[in-house]
């Protein structure tokens, strides 16, 4: 049975020309679920529009 993230994995795999063999898919999905869960934790923290990202580039 297809998991909710499978369509997304297929689409990004195609867009990035990044192969995901069927045997790897369950582990990729689990890792992606962790990455997205932690991303949401960052995402839900409100920051002012003016906030600068941390990396600094000096011309």
């Amino acid at each position: 049975m297809a998991e909710p993230l499978d369509d997304y994995i297929d689409a990004v795999s195609k867009a990035l020309a990044l192969p995901v063999e069927e045997a790897w898919r369950p582990a990729v999905r689990v890792n992606l679920e962790v990455s997205l869960r932690l991303s949401r934790l960052v995402d839900e923290f409100a920051l002012p529009d003016e906030t600068e990202p941390a990396p600094i580039f000096t011309a």
């Binding site: 990044l18 192969p19 992606l32 991303s39 960052v42």
Partner: protein
């Protein structure tokens, strides 16, 4: 004079400079220990014996000619195999990088160590592409803990932890993106310094996450740690993140009193998800320093999450071409994490970097009223090799994902940390001495005071 296995770098350098021992004897002794014990520890992937002997002979010739030699004259050291070593492909723990052409020139930090008289004896095992907290490696086998060889060294600088913890060399160099110096220091019972982000040059080392990568030393004493750190300092135009600050030597400051320092214990997040050993270790260190104030670092869990997001996405970007062309040559666990990282939406990375700026400001505020924060280096002592879960308060948790939970929120904003070993029985465990940016001197001073009090020390390896 012959070398004892646990001679410190300072003792070796002093003996060599005063002609009580030759640099060649010190080098041969290290090579002999490596030969004797590394079949068990598996800490080395390359032994540069010819180069080491040539360097040692050159130092002895300089001494015989009455020339000045550096503060690390004749001291054997080794480096995580993501440092460029002239003549070797920089494998960075991978199978794929073995196909690279041999490096033409040493990493900047190796050049600086050797300019101070140190003698490179080899390159060290590590987790593949540094995306690891265990010290296990599917291509080279795991590095093994010198206090119990059935246990992990911690990673990703596992060979560095094993080689110094096992007293094969007094000093090793490693890298720390999310905890890869502090975790092996904790599990292997040694001192490790993760300097301020940008303090030490990363030139000619294989990267992992440019936003978060640091290099630093491991040692069995604080004096040795400071000796190595001091000789490696200084600007380097070949690392765009390297500071332009001048040298700020720490060795002359080590013995300054710590009674004037405001030392607090990191609370909240840093007191959760810990085994009793970690609580005991932080408690011992805090008691010795008279630290009772508890300071909560706001949003530490979110900081760890943001560090995770930046790591997995920058790591994926670094390896994207290799993931496309040679996916079956990766450690499958590393490959699958990196592929997932490539699929994280870009706004999440930008938000993580913006959160990083906010979090940095919160810590800057804390450091207005505190000089040092104490926190566990790892939630537990070294797990068994291959161990997948551990049970904490009745809850099964994955080992890999949780080893670095207390180090990630600190390196996320580049704070300097000395990991100090508390010699608990049966296994040691580390505590993080965390200071404000560019105040490595303070963290080292506190570590030195603890060492003099006998609260922290590198235990004699018993697993050998």
């Amino acid at each position: 004079m012959t070398t004892k296995p646990e001679m410190t770098a300072a003792e070796i350098a002093s003996a060599v400079a005063s002609r009580k021992m030759s640099a060649l004897d010190a080098t041969e002794a290290a090579l002999a220990r490596i030969k004797q014990h590394d079949t068990i520890l598996n800490s080395f992937t390359d032994i540069t014996a010819d180069r080491a002997r040539a360097k040692a002979r050159a130092i002895d010739a300089d001494i015989a000619a009455g020339k000045e030699v550096g503060p690390l004259a004749g001291v054997p050291f080794a480096v995580k195999n993501l440092f460029d070593v002239a003549g070797l492909p920089t494998r960075a723990g991978s199978k794929i990088n073995r196909d690279l052409a041999p490096a033409k020139r040493d990493a900047t930090l190796i050049e600086r160590m050797e300019a101070a008289g140190a003698v490179l004896v080899g390159a060290l095992n590590m987790g593949e592409y540094a995306y690891d907290f265990t010290g296990e490696n599917v291509h080279d086998g795991p590095s093994r803990n010198p206090h119990d060889t059935t246990r992990m060294t911690g990673g990703s600088s596992g060979g560095s932890g094993s080689a110094v913890g096992g007293a094969l060399v007094p000093i090793a160099l490693g890298s720390d993106t999310n905890g890869s110096i502090r975790v092996p220091s904790s599990f292997c019972g040694i001192f490790g310094l993760k300097p301020t982000y940008g303090r030490l040059s990363r030139a000619r080392s294989f990267p992992f996450v440019a936003s978060l990568d640091h290099l630093g030393p491991f040692a069995r004493s604080v004096t040795d740690l400071a000796l190595a750190y001091d000789v490696m300092q200084g600007p380097d135009a070949e690392d765009s993140a390297c500071t332009t600050r001048g040298l700020e030597p720490t060795l002359p400051l080590l013995a300054n009193p710590v009674s004037d320092l405001r030392i607090a214990i990191a609370g909240g997040y840093f007191q959760k998800n810990v085994f009793p050993e970690a609580v005991e270790a932080v408690g011992r260190v805090a008691k010795a320093l008279g630290a009772t104030q508890v300071v909560e670092i706001p949003e530490a869990a979110r900081a760890r999450a943001a560090a995770y997001v930046i790591t997995t996405t920058e790591g994926a970007s670094l390896h994207l071409d290799r993931l496309r062309t040679r996916p079956n040559d990766f450690d499958p666990a590393v490959r699958d994490r990196l592929i997932a990282g490539a699929m994280v939406p870009a706004p999440m990375v930008d938000r993580a970097q913006k959160f990083r700026r906010w979090y940095r400001a919160q810590l800057a505020e804390i450091f207005k009223s505190v000089d040092v924060l104490l926190a566990p280096a790892t939630p537990c002592t070294a797990p068994k090799l291959g161990q997948v879960n551990f049970n904490l308060d009745g809850v099964e948790l994955p080992v890999r994902a949780n080893i670095g939970i207390h180090t990630q929120p600190i390196s996320f904003i580049g704070l300097p940390v000395v990991a100090v070993p508390v010699p608990l029985e049966p296994l040691p465990i580390g505590v993080q001495i965390i200071a404000a940016p560019w105040r490595e001197d303070i963290a080292l001073r506190v570590a030195y005071a603890l060492e003099k009090m006998g609260v922290v020390s590198a235990p004699t390896p018993r697993g050998l």
